[in-house]
């Protein structure tokens, strides 16, 4: 029996919750990476719960932390929708670009990809391999190494091709590197000379600890994140930092990455996520 159900059982049954049970609940909440502050708040909320509606109240305590914004993709009505993927190194941007492109293509819309990681060795080739697999055109740079120039060029070409979507992959970067964040801002700026950027998605690796908050804060301040892709949710990590981000920064999780192939992307399902944090 998972702790969540055990907790609920304690509440609905006659027995009082012993101090050891509170300690166990605290441990479980902490282990999910929601962070010590949220853990403390939730424990306080749980202690106030009346036994008859404990289950409801506990789900609500957790769910009340979710952000209320729409989790639907933002599209540019009547024009090309441009989606940028950003995040720290190795969090799953390139794979997620391929997954999203695969979904869009399957829905019947036309999509092109801009290979905006002009920095990491073989990043362009990685995306080209994905492009070939899913049958989506990948626009690459002229070797100048300037991601803004590539993105500008790609936006122009995608528009000329009448594409419904342009997905822009970007190089991984740590949020504390100011020059790299400025580079990202520039990518967005130059694309917007041609067409508005509809959505900026931040990839957060589900194994990330409390540093995920800093990532979300700084990327958001720099390029205005509209949603999160919680990647690598197929592992043992629970990805609780995403709940902390939703709660504190009001940025919705939109997608969940659940594996390494293009089919492994699912729209975020709040309820199963919340239950997953405790079981």
């Amino acid at each position: 029996m998972g702790l969540f159900s055990k907790f609920i059982a304690k509440f609905t049954g006659a027995s009082a919750f012993a101090p050891a049970d509170w300690a166990e609940l605290e441990a479980e909440l902490l282990a999910s990476d929601i962070g010590p502050r949220l853990t403390r708040d939730l424990l306080e909320a749980a202690r106030r719960v009346k036994s008859e509606n404990a289950q409801e109240a506990m789900v609500q305590a957790l769910s009340s932390r979710l952000c209320l914004k729409s989790r639907l993709p933002i599209i540019n009505q009547g024009g090309m929708s441009v989606v940028m993927l950003v995040g720290v190194n190795g969090t799953g941007k390139t794979t997620s670009v391929a997954k999203l492109a695969g979904r869009i293509k399957a829905s019947g819309a036309t999509v092109v990809i801009a290979a905006g990681d002009t920095f990491r060795a073989a990043a362009v080739e990685q995306l080209q391999t994905w492009g070939a697999r899913i049958g989506v055109e990948v626009i690459t740079g002229k070797g100048s190494g300037d991601p803004a120039a590539l993105a500008f060029d790609a936006a122009q070409r995608a528009r000329a091709m009448n594409a419904d979507y342009l997905l822009i992959d970007t190089a991984g970067r740590l949020h504390n590197k100011r020059d790299l964040m400025q580079e990202l801002e520039k990518v967005r700026r130059v694309v917007e000379k041609i067409t508005p950027v509809s959505e900026v998605l931040l990839t957060i690796d589900a194994t990330t600890g409390q540093n995920g908050m800093a990532q979300a804060k700084i990327f958001s301040a720099s390029v205005d994140i509209t949603g999160i892709i919680l990647t690598k949710s197929d592992g043992s990590a629970k990805g609780g930092i995403a709940l902390a981000i939703e709660s504190e920064l009001d940025i919705p999780i939109k997608w969940i990455g659940t594996g390494e192939s293009t089919a492994d992307l699912e729209p975020f399902a709040p309820e199963s996520y919340i239950r997953g944090l405790l079981t």
Binding site: E26, V88, F119, Q126, L174, G209, Q210, S236, G240
Partner: protein, 477 residues
């Protein structure tokens, strides 16, 4: 990394220091703060609890035998420091070379941890020491991981064994086995095996990792882990330990601002030493892990030993010799030297990285994290607006001199103050480095909270100082 932990701990220690005598209640409160700080830093709960319990026990024993609060706080500080060093692995361990070459190093870890880049960094590190590493490309899973390794190898002029193009095709176990045979035939004395990222819960891929291991019989299996990792570090490192086993840990992406508590969790739970750190995207952004340096960094002492080493490596022969001679003769590190270094330092790349290693409390480091390298120019302007006499004797730079320097350099007085405070702290640390090296002898050092880098960050007395320089400092803030 560990910045937040640092700031929490400095707060803890400065509140302890403020007491005349530390009571058991004070100690309890401090342990509570420490627990919160460690959890906020992603250290696993079980590790936090046993750490804090041990600190409390040892501190209790130490308190009894001491008189003043100051000594007691110092004692607790030392207990925390040495326990941190102990958990982080005592002294740095090096790779064990095989009696019969080649020495085989196998990398393992989660997806996106940074194994492929690390393979390149390790190869460069050992090639620079005269070894002849062969890189073996066994990540046949992630698209173009093989290409990435080939490009890395080419950029450092080292061979890459890659008979399979990868992208989901080919048998990594066979590549691994053939790679060893190839290395023997070509007399490479070292082999570095890159493998695909895999989840701890993926039993199929974990048994593939075992097959690779059995094919190459590694001298070292290194578990590569992202320093931003959270609580799952416990489960994942245990899964890799049980699944394929490992002998050492490599922490990657330490150039981020992560608190890096996963390092403490993994070292403490798996009893495997952290051996290397990866600190940037360049192949040279790599170093041996020093537990004592990391502990002093955690405690806000600044990583002066690394700073001194890097400074030495980056300085021109001339500047470096000059500085060494000064060190040897017992002369002080002056603002002149500082100015000399500034130009040389820009060669080292990121100034922010360097300044981050200076001693100082976490709040200052945070500011440093936002440091833009254009600041080198501004700092230079400030130093150049000082008279040669002032540069050698910064102590004489009083309030009116500070205003003059600010005016001359077009900067604010507070910027001049900040620079001077930083410099004086650095100078002090340099002296300590010289007189007895770093840093086990923390006992000889002032506690971090006794020397706040920026006075407004420490609890401050209301009274204005009788010392004109100090008063100017107070007034300007």
């Amino acid at each position: 990394m560990f910045d937040s932990l640092t700031s929490h701990l400095s707060a803890t220690f400065s509140s302890l220091r403020a007491r005349g005598k530390i009571s058991h209640n004070d100690l309890d409160a401090s342990c509570g703060q420490m627990r919160a700080a460690l959890l906020e830093s992603d250290v696993a709960l079980e590790v936090v609890d046993s750490f804090v319990t041990e600190i409390a026990g040892k501190s209790m024993a130490a308190l009894a035998s001491m008189q003043s609060g100051r000594n007691q706080a110092q004692a607790i500080f030392e207990i925390v420091n040495s326990l941190l060093i102990e958990i982080l692995g005592g002294s740095a361990r090096r790779v064990r070379f095989a009696k019969n070459p080649p020495t085989v190093i196998m990398l393992a870890g989660l997806q996106g941890a940074g194994k492929t880049s690390l393979a390149g960094k390790l190869a460069k590190f050992y090639a620079d020491q005269g070894n002849t590493p062969l890189l073996v490309a066994c990540d046949l899973q992630r698209p173009n991981a093989v290409t990435q390794l080939q490009l890395l190898g080419a950029s450092i002029g080292l061979p890459v064994f890659c008979p399979e193009a990868g992208n989901g095709v080919g048998d990594p176990v066979k590549v691994a086995r053939d790679g060893i045979a190839f290395a023997k035939a070509k007399q490479h004395n070292m082999v570095i095996v890159d493998t695909a990222g895999r989840l701890g819960v993926d039993t199929q891929l974990m048994s593939q990792a075992c097959e690779i291991r059995d094919a190459v019989r590694p001298d070292e299996i290194l578990f590569v882990v992202d320093s931003m990792m959270g609580q799952d570090a416990v489960r994942t490192s245990q899964a890799f330990l049980d699944g394929v086993g490992f002998d050492g840990v490599v922490l990657t992406k330490l150039d981020g601002d992560t608190r890096g508590g996963a390092a403490l969790s993994i070292a403490s739970l798996t009893k495997r030493p952290i051996m290397f750190i990866s600190t940037g995207e360049k192949l040279s952004d790599f170093d041996i892990f020093y537990p004592d340096r990391m502990a002093s960094r955690i405690l806000g002492m600044g990583d002066v030993a690394t700073l001194a080493e890097q400074a030495k490596a980056a300085l021109d022969g001339d500047t470096s010799k000059k500085l060494e001679a000064k060190f040897a003769s017992g002369e002080d590190f002056t603002l002149e030297d500082f100015l000399d270094q500034l130009s040389a330092i820009s060669k080292m790349g990121s100034m922010s990285k360097l300044l981050g290693m200076l001693p100082g409390n976490a709040a200052m480091k945070k500011q440093v994290g936002n440091f833009d390298d254009g600041e080198i120019l501004r700092t230079k302007a400030i130093v150049q607006s000082m008279t040669p006499h002032e540069r050698v004797n910064p102590k004489i730079i009083n309030g009116s001199r500070r205003s003059r320097i600010a005016l001359g350099s077009g900067r604010r007085v507070s910027e001049v103050n900040t620079l001077l405070e930083r410099f004086i702290a650095a100078q002090k640390m340099m002296r300590q480095v010289r007189s007895g090296g770093m840093p086990a002898g923390m006992g000889t050092m002032a506690m971090p909270a006794t020397a706040p880098i920026r006075p407004e960050l420490a609890p401050k007395k209301k009274s204005k100082s009788g010392n004109p320089a100090k008063r100017a400092l107070e007034e300007s803030q």
